[in-house]
């Protein structure tokens, strides 16, 4: 009888410890998840800012000015256009 009681008590203690450990684990994982989500959000934000920066640099007015002034480019004149057609 006493033996059975001792056994049951130890089971209860073990499961209680298990609950504590699981809860601790869950908290840890949750905070990790939160951190990762925050990081994902930060990266998303950074990506947005990079896109913004890219589209500012690649603004067509800027590209056009650079092409015309720095590189001396212009629209091709008729004699210099070659049309390539795919024959099916």
């Amino acid at each position: 009888m006493i033996r059975a009681d001792a056994f049951l008590v130890s089971l209860v203690v073990a499961s209680a410890l298990g609950v504590v450990a699981a809860q601790h684990q869950a908290r840890k994982l949750f905070s990790e998840l939160e951190r990762e989500q925050a990081r994902a959000h930060e990266l998303e934000v950074e990506w947005g800012q990079l896109q913004l920066e890219q589209s500012t640099w690649a603004a067509l007015s800027r590209v056009e000015a650079a092409a015309r002034e720095n590189l001396g480019l212009g629209e091709p004149v008729p004699g210099r256009i070659i049309v390539v057609e795919r024959v099916r």
Binding site: S31, Q51, V77, P78, R80
Partner: protein, 585 residues
């Protein structure tokens, strides 16, 4: 009065008497009852009704805070960003809590780029809440929070940026400070763009700093991106061509819209005057108006091809039928209709080519008002397009019953009927799509094409394409619509402006055309309001804008040329030699 006799407590005669049995018992019982009540109360609070107290306790430190969601991006058809929200932070303080050392104040002031006195003034405010600085870049905000100052808090906000600025201003519209769409696509697609904020539970300390995340109640749901049909490159080409024309002709306003005639997508839509959506400090209503979609005008001669098409479709005329144009004058009732240039007799092709009012009226007179109304209605005039754009106008098309003969006549050349520029451009899809009208779309169409509606026969549409090519040709009204490498077709319009019910000597010049003629791909509609630098004819003011836009757009789309690549040769000018042309261009 008897004399006083001193009595000590120990010798008090009352003590001698002895107490009754029930009195101490009563006291004891009373005390026990009190204890029982306390125990019962404790048991009630701890055992049976513990939720209430627990909730009260929790509410002292645990908080549900909202998690903001990001507003969706707006991109062009190739995925280039046109509108994007990036987070910014606002720094605020609770002045009674913000007790800072002078060194800390100086540090904070330099980070916030504020004067120390100004900061001190704000921090000594009597209010419970003051903003120190709004919309700070996240980088600076992080350094502020790293200082860990008491009573200084931050809140996340979003700011919307439009990298293309004024080029796409009217199409995109803008949002309010609360990130809610106010105009344009931002308003039209607000439901898709806006995110759903989430919430999470956190534990906060006495100062309100978050010390532990407990659980996520609802994850935030970011807004979805909107992919427009717009092609950023074509939009830019249209924008610069329009801006140039506005300056050259000292015009009041102007608009250009470019449609993909195959899919009905709106590839570009620009208006002038425009505004910078990133800095809207002093805006006027004129700058804000999206004239392409919301302003109606009497289109003038761009309406004529529809009358010719109707006459062809009913078999009343052939392209070569000669119409007596009465030397450019005719009288209906008390009104006289006249042509700009007089021609004795013109073929139907000639009427369109020379843009003869009289010839068009003669064709229109062969129809009943009902027949004409039915065609206008089928072309979509008088009804808004329902693109979902705020403030879309539908123009005015009065019921056929109320038409007087003179009105039927003027409507045939585009007066007494009003449309928006986009309606006019769309109506021209009947010519490019072999007689079918296609619904338009602001967003990129990835699925199958939208259902179309037949208005004219394919044969009629093909004939009209030829006529409109002649109209944009050397002998037509708009030789300046010609571009290198592609065959173009189109019709000019020069309409008197209506002001207070009277026609004035102010004009609206327009041009609606398409290219390449052999297999139409683009429809470009141009409208210039009140050109006042001498020229006002559509062929001189609007057609060159068309040429610029169509040429650039066709090249941007990589459409194969359908005309020989010869240098343009304008009458009265020497043909440009290749080397010289290179310099000029």
């Amino acid at each position: 009065m008897s004399p006083h006799r001193p009595v000590t407590f120990n010798h008090n005669p009352l003590l001698e008497k002895g107490l009754q049995e029930w009195r101490p018992r009563l006291i004891l019982l009373g005390l026990m009852a009190c204890f029982l009540a306390l125990v019962g109360r404790a048991a009630y609070l701890q055992g049976f009704n513990h939720e209430f107290l627990q909730a009260e306790g929790k509410s002292r430190y645990s908080r549900v805070i909202p998690v903001p969601a990001t507003r969706g991006r707006i991109t062009d058809r190739h995925g280039d960003v046109l509108a994007i929200s990036t987070p910014v932070r606002s720094v605020w303080a609770i002045p009674p809590d913000a007790v800072l050392t002078p060194a800390e104040t100086r540090q904070l002031a330099s980070l916030l780029e504020m004067e120390v006195e100004d900061l001190n003034r704000r921090l000594s405010s009597e209010q419970g809440f003051v903003y120190l600085r709004r919309q700070l870049p996240p980088e600076v905000a992080r350094r502020v929070s790293e200082l860990g100052l008491p009573g200084i808090h931050q809140q996340q906000e979003y700011r919307r940026y439009y990298p293309a600025g004024e080029v796409t201003a009217h199409m995109l519209g803008f949002t309010s400070v609360d990130d809610v769409g106010q105009e344009g696509v931002e308003l039209a697609f607000n439901a898709d763009l806006k995110g759903r904020p989430g919430s999470r539970r956190v534990i906060r300390d006495r100062r309100g700093q978050i010390i532990e995340d407990v659980e996520s109640i609802r994850p935030p749901h970011d807004g979805s991106d909107v992919v427009l049909a717009m092609d950023k490159k074509i939009q830019f080409i249209a924008y610069s061509a329009l801006r140039e024309a506005m300056q050259k002709h000292k015009a009041l306003a102007g608009s250009v819209v470019v449609l993909d005639s195959r899919s009905g997508e709106i590839l570009a839509l620009v208006n002038a005057p425009t505004f910078n959506p990133n800095n809207r400090s002093n805006l006027t209503g004129a700058q804000l108006r999206n004239r392409v979609l919301t302003d109606v005008f009497e289109p003038g001669s761009t309406m004529k091809p529809f009358i010719a098409a109707l006459a062809l479709d009913y078999g009343k005329v052939t392209p070569d039928t000669v119409i007596d144009t009465d030397a450019g004058r005719m009288t209906i009732g008390r009104a006289t209709i006249s042509d700009v240039r007089r021609h004795k007799g013109l073929t139907v092709t000639g009427v369109i080519q020379k843009s003869s009012n009289v010839g068009t009226v003669k064709m229109a007179q062969q129809f009943t008002p009902d027949e004409m109304w039915k065609m206008f209605d089928e072309l979509g005039f008088g009804v808004p397009l329902h693109l979902g754009f705020p403030g879309e106008a539908g123009g005015r098309l009065r019921p056929a019953k109320s038409w007087r003969p003179i009105e039927q006549a003027t409507m045939s050349y585009g007066h007494g009927i009003s449309t928006t520029l986009v309606q006019m451009a769309r109506a021209y899809t009947v010519f490019t799509r072999d007689g079918e009208l296609i619904p338009l779309s602001l967003t990129r169409i990835d699925g199958p094409p939208q259902p179309t509606r037949r208005v004219f026969s394919a044969e009629t549409a093909r004939t009209m394409r030829h006529m409109l090519e002649v109209a944009a040709g050397p002998q037509g009204t708009a030789p300046r619509a010609q571009i290198t490498g592609y065959r173009v077709a189109g019709k000019t319009g020069t309409a008197h402006k209506l002001e207070g019910g009277r026609y004035t000597n102010k004009y609206i010049s327009s041009f609606v055309g398409f290219a390449p003629v052999s297999n139409p791909r683009l429809i470009v509609a141009v409208m210039i309001d009140e050109p006042s630098a001498g020229q006002h004819y559509g062929g001189a003011v609007a057609a060159p804008v068309f040429a610029k836009v169509a040429e650039g757009a066709l090249r941007a789309l990589g459409v194969a040329p359908d005309a020989p690549l010869v240098p343009l040769h304008f009458a009265g000018q020497a043909p440009t030699p290749v080397t010289a042309a290179k310099e000029r261009m």
